[in-house]
Amino acid sequence: MAMIGVLGGTFTGLIPGVHPNTVAAVMLASTSSLLLFFTPHAIAVFVTSMAISNTFLNFIPSVFIGAPEGETALSVLPGHRFLLKGQAQEAVCLTVAGGLGVIMLSVVLFPLVSVVLPILYMGIKSYMAWLLLAIAGVMILLDEGMKRVYGLIVFGLSGILGVMTMETPLLPDQSMLFPIFTGLFGISTLIISIGSGISVPRQSQAPVRLPVKETVMGSVKGFFSGMLMGVLPGIGAAQAGVLAHELSMRKSIREFMVSLGGINTVAALFSLMALYLISRPRSGAAVAVQEVLVNFGYGEMLLLMATALFSAGAGAFLTIRAGRGFARLFQRLDYRRVSVAIIVMLVGMVALMTGPIGMLYMVTSTSIGLLPPLFGVKRTSCMGVLMLPIMLFYFGLM
């Protein structure tokens, strides 16, 4: 099941917009039937393996797809900067190194984390809403001048969209976020990329050499940021990465890529560990595991840790290999056509899964998702879609 989970993680990772939480939610709807053929532990191993391996492979589309033309874009995502310099494989390897680094740190520091995390959670539980508000505030204030106002507008609009989605029963629970995330972060990025008329430069085929100091520092930063993210609901890996980067003294893009890879992986792991440590699911995958594993004890925790170790290794191996293949492939492909094909596929999936109402949500969220690159503010402002409803919930207003 762990190996099938890696295949699932490869599928969800390589196709932009498809998240393992969506697959986990669909699985949740048919848990009883699945339990006829598989044991609860086998299902939990599959979900964990899919969630962890996905955190490695999903950097391939985020590096290779949706890049704007370098000179004209107001905001270029860090992975795209490497692509536009012909160093996409380096970006992929940096995120892989971060993911592997944090998994090894998690295994070694598990006894310490199992003591610290519950204390940390108990300490911040009462202030969760204020903490989220402070993080949102810092994220907006990181921009300068009028960009702060633009960032607030994007945060507010995506937040209102999130509240409207969660407060109305128009979309089924298991696919509620799919059209919104597809629009906010998928289709809008692709539209900007198509509009800018980019052509991917020749990619370096030389073996990548990773800087040891930046890899170690990035992994450590990623580990601690991701651990915090694992207990805080509504914070995305990109936001945690940006915060860790902006608040640190040294600002290296390579270290940032390593920490981003690390945060992504460790957040997925800690969202599962939170089930055992604080008895709270912190992701769709964790909800699915909680639903099937009624008695979630120390043995189950160790099983999921072992699964995470395997799927991280397998996911990392596949990502490095796939990165090389994509680097060769993308310099030969017509980037615009690839982007259009992906948009068509995403629209088809949204239509199939959520119908006309989902399409309406997708168009709305795409419009909001177009604003950050046009305003030149961080795309993470769109995480208001989760942060605002969660803040309102913790303030007792929703």
Binding site: L35, L210, T307, F310, S311
Partner: protein, 122 residues
């Protein structure tokens, strides 16, 4: 660190992970839940229980009601008409004394714990 070193580290991680899964999986129980262990706290959670049918009733609306018993206790199992019709095999042909497994969500009805079955395994 070179890219080839990262590949080797990935392979080492996956092999170590496989070995750990093998060692740990022997320590966790894979069996169905004991009926006595299913409590109201588990409402909404998916559960699998196995036991002997000690009571069977089909309502006017063709909803199917069982009582399943194992050595730890007894629990009610409800199979709604729509669910029963979608099942492979004929759940209405089950009789008292048959040993079956019921899979579904744990629910509460009039203060008693029950399983709202989605599937039945013989």
């Amino acid at each position: 660190m070179e890219e080839s070193g990262l590949l080797k580290l990935s392979l080492a991680c996956s092999l170590l992970g496989l070995l750990s899964i093998f060692l740990v999986s022997g320590q966790v129980s894979e069996n169905a839940l004991e009926i006595g262990g299913v409590t109201g706290d588990m409402t909404g959670v998916a559960a699998k229980v196995c036991g002997n049918i000690t009571y069977k009733h089909v309502s006017k609306n063709n909803h199917l009601f069982f009582r399943l018993t194992d050595e730890t206790g007894t629990i009610s199992v409800v199979v709604f008409n729509g669910t029963a019709r979608g099942m492979t095999g004929n759940p209405y042909s089950l009789k008292e004394g048959d040993n079956i497994c019921a899979l579904g969500k744990v629910g509460m009805y009039k203060g008693s714990v029950e399983i709202l079955a989605d599937s039945l395994g013989l």
